[in-house]
């Protein structure tokens, strides 16, 4: 699983999908696919990252993404340390860059960062020697989520190009939506975003998507329906009047899904708000929902990313 003729992540970090070229994305997905296969066969590659240190630096709560990176790192044999904001010195007034200097002094090889501020991993990447992986920054990007979504879609539909993908809900605050828009449009899919105007970012169409404010119009003929999480504070912030109104017009239920292609798949990055953005009957329908497979692909994609970013280290070893 080596021998690509070009560096798959030329910057030595994975900070964003925007800027990656289709060959890089395809190479990452191919590698992840092979890890998915190994995982299903119960095989591991525990020597690949042996002696390497991976730090999960999470300034925001996350169970699934952190666990997914942890599992990916362990399957490749890395030493893993989890640092979360509640247990670190960041709460004592230490700045992000002080933290970076500390981690640097510990000879960290791979740094997985989640932060509430857009651009925080990019700032860290300027100051640390480790390869930085953005595990979600503010409302900017969540690159590994987009990769795992793309891999899931590719496995289910055999391709990405020309597929109609509808991303629905709180696009304004969604890093998942941004990364998916960049990735899927680079790979030739036809992107739609669907949501109330107050939750669609300014000039969203210029990202290469078609914007809809009506679920049925937006889901018409879709191959993939990707639901986004609506956070409760959006309602207190006045962007949406109530959860019942939101569910009525923008929540995914069987009736709205009926206008999509008969074999359309339903995705959600989790954690779900059942009865707000998605009806349980849809979320739990094994014929439509691929939410479980998304989680499985998450580990494979993160193994691929760790593999690629550690190649430089292994070459220098």
């Amino acid at each position: 699983m080596s021998g690509f003729s070009f560096p798959i992540l030329p910057t030595g970090h994975l900070l964003a999908i925007e800027g990656l070229e289709p060959p890089h994305i395809s190479a990452l997905l191919d590698l992840a696919e092979s890890y998915a296969l190994l995982n299903r066969q119960g095989k591991t590659q525990r020597d690949l990252l042996k002696g390497r240190t991976l730090i999960n630096l999470f300034f925001e709560d996350s169970t699934r993404t952190r666990t997914s990176f942890e599992l990916a790192g362990k399957r490749l044999g890395a030493d893993i340390v989890n640092m979360s904001v509640s247990t670190s010195s960041v709460n004592k007034g230490e700045t992000l860059l002080d933290t970076a200097a500390t981690l640097n002094a510990m000879n960290t090889d791979l740094l997985v960062v989640r932060h509430g501020q857009s651009g925080a991993p990019a700032l860290l990447a300027q100051k640390v020697d480790a390869a930085v992986i953005n595990a979600g920054d503010g409302t900017h990007e969540h690159p590994t989520q987009a990769l795992l979504d793309a891999l899931t879609i590719r496995r289910r539909r055999g391709r990405l190009e020309e597929l109609v993908v509808a991303i629905c809900g709180d696009v304004l605050h969604s890093r998942v939506a941004r990364s998916n828009i960049h990735l899927l449009s680079a790979m030739g899919a036809r992107l739609r975003v669907v949501g109330p105007p107050t939750l669609i970012p300014s000039e969203c169409a210029r990202l290469g998507v078609e914007v809809f404010h009506d679920m049925r119009a937006g889901l018409e003929g879709a191959d993939v329906v990707m639901m986004l999480r609506l956070q409760k504070e959006r309602m207190t912030g006045g962007l949406v009047p109530s959860s019942r109104e939101y569910f009525r017009f923008f929540g995914l239920d069987a009736a709205k899904l009926a206008v999509a292609k008969p074999d359309a798949i339903v995705m959600h990055p989790g954690p779900m708000n059942r009865g707000i953005e998605i009806d349980s009957a849809v979320a739990d329908d094994p014929a439509r929902s691929v939410i479980g497979e998304q989680v499985e692909m998450g580990v494979a994609v993160r193994m691929a990313v760790l593999d690629v970013l550690s190649r430089r280290l292994r070459r220098n070893a």
Binding site: T95, Q117, S118, G119, E203, L207
Partner: protein, 422 residues
């Protein structure tokens, strides 16, 4: 009695239209003559054909005193100002504490005098603590030397407060300077709303937040007969409103700052916090509208909008980084870029930095004429240099122009006849 004769200079006084190659005699801190006659006992300086203009009058800068001396002191600001050809500077009042007390205004003026190189004319706080609620003591502050009133980087939000400020200031012949940004609409935004902010995942400030504030305050100027001045105007829509208000004969004026006619929003790409400003950098159409408004006279002055921050204030995730840029040393050079680009004639550009802001303030500065104070700036109009973080004069290094190559460099600055730079 000290005498200085500057010869072989292109003497440019935008206020009178004087533009001639000749000599200028300084005697006892004042301009004695422009006759070119040899002066007995005078020290002579051959300017080598460089441009000699009035020392620049900077309408708007933050100097760090009182309260933020770790970012900039009046002494370090004066060093940067002298290197930028600035000899008069109006300091913003949103300091810690705010300049809402006559004693504080006097303190800042005295600290300026102590530099020997820079006259500092403080703006008084429009409201107590610049908190936007109760008016401060305009009369007493004016007597102490405040040139006008503003809450600095904070907009005077409530319409009633602005109405009262515009109205009450008339009694003391002072203008109210507004930061034109409707606060509830701007919210916690960090960049101009639009495609770029969407891509970067940054909370946006719609450009309309500026036009809305300007439209409201023009209506209040009409209501009260007061003089409203809009600082660092950055959008086409706001400039259109100001142009119309001026045509209507209202007492409305405005300034802009170099970033708004030299840079556009793309400067924040890669989360570059040195380019995080307030108001935020705008799109290219707005930058072009600012250039057009410089040309047609809608803009009354170019101010440095100098806002010193130290590295810790800027080395943060973009939305958390402090807004504002260092601007004293680059004020002239970036303005001259508009001259080199053919947008402005040299005298027009210099008027925006000297005679026009001085006239707006009604102060004796920004002129070259016999009897005027010998506050002078000598610059080479095409000498090239590069703005470099860490190499700028003064303390503040947070220039949005970091890396920019400029043509036009100050080679000498005089304050009341005394050479303070070069």
């Amino acid at each position: 009695m000290t005498k200085l004769l500057i010869t072989n200079a292109r003497i440019l006084d935008p206020g009178s239209g004087l533009d001639t190659v000749g000599s200028l005699l300084v005697e006892d801190g004042r301009i004695a003559s422009l006759s070119g006659a040899p002066a007995e006992g005078a020290e002579t300086l051959d300017a080598g054909g460089a441009v000699l203009c009035p020392g620049l009058v900077d309408l708007r800068a933050t100097v760090g005193e009182p309260g933020a001396e770790h970012r900039e002191t009046i002494a370090s600001a004066a060093e940067a100002a002298a290197a930028g050809g600035i000899t008069t500077l109006c300091a913003l009042p949103d300091t810690e504490p705010a300049l809402d007390d006559p004693a504080l205004v006097e303190f800042v003026i005295r600290r300026g005098e102590a530099t020997g190189s820079l006259t500092i004319l403080p703006w008084g706080a429009a409201t107590k603590s610049c908190a936007g609620k109760e008016l401060s003591e305009f009369g007493l502050l004016r007597e102490a030397g405040a040139v006008g009133f503003t809450d600095g980087a904070r907009a005077i939000g409530p319409a009633r407060t602005m109405r009262l400020a515009l109205s009450y200031a008339r009694a003391f012949g002072a203008m109210i300077v507004q930061h034109p940004e409707e606060p509830s609409l701007a919210g916690t935004g960090a960049a101009t709303e639009g495609e770029l902010a969407t891509r970067l995942g940054l909370p946006g400030i719609p450009a309309a937040a500026e036009a809305i504030q300007v439209a409201r305050d023009i209506a209040l100027a009409r209501l009260t007969g007061g003089h409203v001045h809009f600082a660092h105007v950055s959008t086409a829509a706001a400039l259109d409103l100001i142009r119309e208000a001026k045509a209507e004969g209202l007492r409305v004026s405005c300034d802009t700052a170099p970033p708004y006619f030299d840079l556009n929003e793309t400067a924040i790409g890669g989360f570059r916090t040195y380019a995080k400003l307030s108001p935020p950098l705008r799109r290219e159409e707005d930058r072009l509208a600012v250039v057009a408004a410089l040309k047609d006279g809608t803009v009354d002055a170019i101010a440095s909008d100098h806002t010193p921050w130290d590295a810790d204030d800027k080395r943060l995730p973009f939305a958390q980084a402090a807004p504002g840029g260092a601007g004293l040393a680059t004020l002239l050079g970036v303005t001259l870029a508009r001259v080199h680009a053919g947008d402005l004639a040299l005298p027009e550009a210099l008027a925006l930095l000297t005679s026009r802001p001085a006239a707006l303030l009604g102060i004796e500065a920004g002129r070259i004429a016999p009897g005027a104070p010998a506050d002078l700036c000598l610059f080479h109009p095409t000498r090239a240099w590069q703005v470099r973080d860490g190499k700028l004069p003064g303390k503040a290094q947070n220039s949005p122009f970091d890396g920019r190559a400029l043509e036009g460099r100050v080679i000498g600055t005089w304050k009341r006849g005394k050479r303070v730079f070069g």
